[in-house]
């Protein structure tokens, strides 16, 4: 499941607790800044073998999960 994998990446990369991450969490609340986000996007691209477009405005975990699922279908 995409959410679980995204969560695993966040936990590993940013030492967040699993219980902190829900679909509704937004990056700002999680203390993830723009630099963390760049790193995160790179890891997600590797993990899911996709390319995340520059123009994407990813603000919440839900945005990320939805983006990945549509990219996987394409």
């Amino acid at each position: 499941m995409i959410f679980e994998k995204v969560k695993a990446v966040l936990v590993e990369e940013l030492t967040l607790g699993e219980d902190e991450i829900t679909m509704e969490s937004n990056f700002e609340e999680l203390g993830i800044d723009s630099l963390d986000l760049v790193e995160l996007v790179m890891k997600l691209e590797e993990e899911f073998d996709i390319t995340i477009e520059e123009s994407e405005e990813l603000k919440t975990i839900k945005d990320v999960v939805e983006y990945i699922s549509s990219a996987k279908e394409a």
Binding site: D33, S34, L35, V38, E39, V41, M42, E54, S55
Partner: protein, 307 residues
Amino acid sequence: MENRICQLLGIKYPVFQGAMAWVSDGKLAAAVSEAGGLGIIAGGNAEGEIIRKEIQEAKKLTEKPFGVNIMLLSPHKEEVIKVVLEEKVACVTTGAGNPGKYIEAFHEAGIKVIPVVPSVALAKKMERLGADAVIAEGNEAGGHIGKLSTMVLLPQVSDAVSIPVIGAGGIADHRGVDAAFTLGAEGVQLGTYFIPAEECRAHENYKNLVLEASDIDVTVTGRFTGHPVQVLRNKLTRKLDALEKSGGSMEEFEALGRGSLYQSVILGDLEKGSFMSGQIAGLVTRKGTCSELIEALLTDSRYISYK
């Protein structure tokens, strides 16, 4: 010396003059380029047509390549990008964000793209998107700063990418230049070092403040805003600090800072101005033309031979 940066840009010395909002105009950029380095006009928050004038001014003063820095948080960035594409400058550097989506357009116009990167991940990403080089700028730099110091950031970025890396932040003499090269840089960028230059428009008070600064006269304001700025201490920074301590709002903070660059660079107002400066100001003691400054910088370098 012929290294990858010199070849990429067609310049004699791999020395960039860092973009400083209000300070680095067409005249300063042209003088640095004439001296064999790469002058860079600061886009800052300026409107497109203002930058066009500066580009045209620089073109009158030099036939050598120069660059424009695009500040990606600027409300006028789209206009500035359009102007840069039309004027076809040699290269752009970018700051305060991710220039990924513009790289292709710059390349189509024959413009080299050199983003400033504050982390390894962004450096890798820029390389993948086709950046020609990256500037690893540590938080010794003046103005808006990132999280990591040059000593820490530069070798890691150098290891992470195969495109050339320019080291920036904390350099003001040949030892700094050589240290950056030892850490993997193939070029250096200096800002504060050029503030006292003869061709620099900064107010005499600004130049003297830099020249007379001691090692501990540089401070960081606005950490709580998420956009910390490195400046020389003065009445304004003390007011900003007090406001931060008393739990002032973002709006109050911004109101104090508004117009403060115009007040420092143009009016030389020692109380209200924001005198942005790198941490290395204490080592900057030399006046002279850009050509003399570059000669002084490189004469004893082990990596770059000055001819």
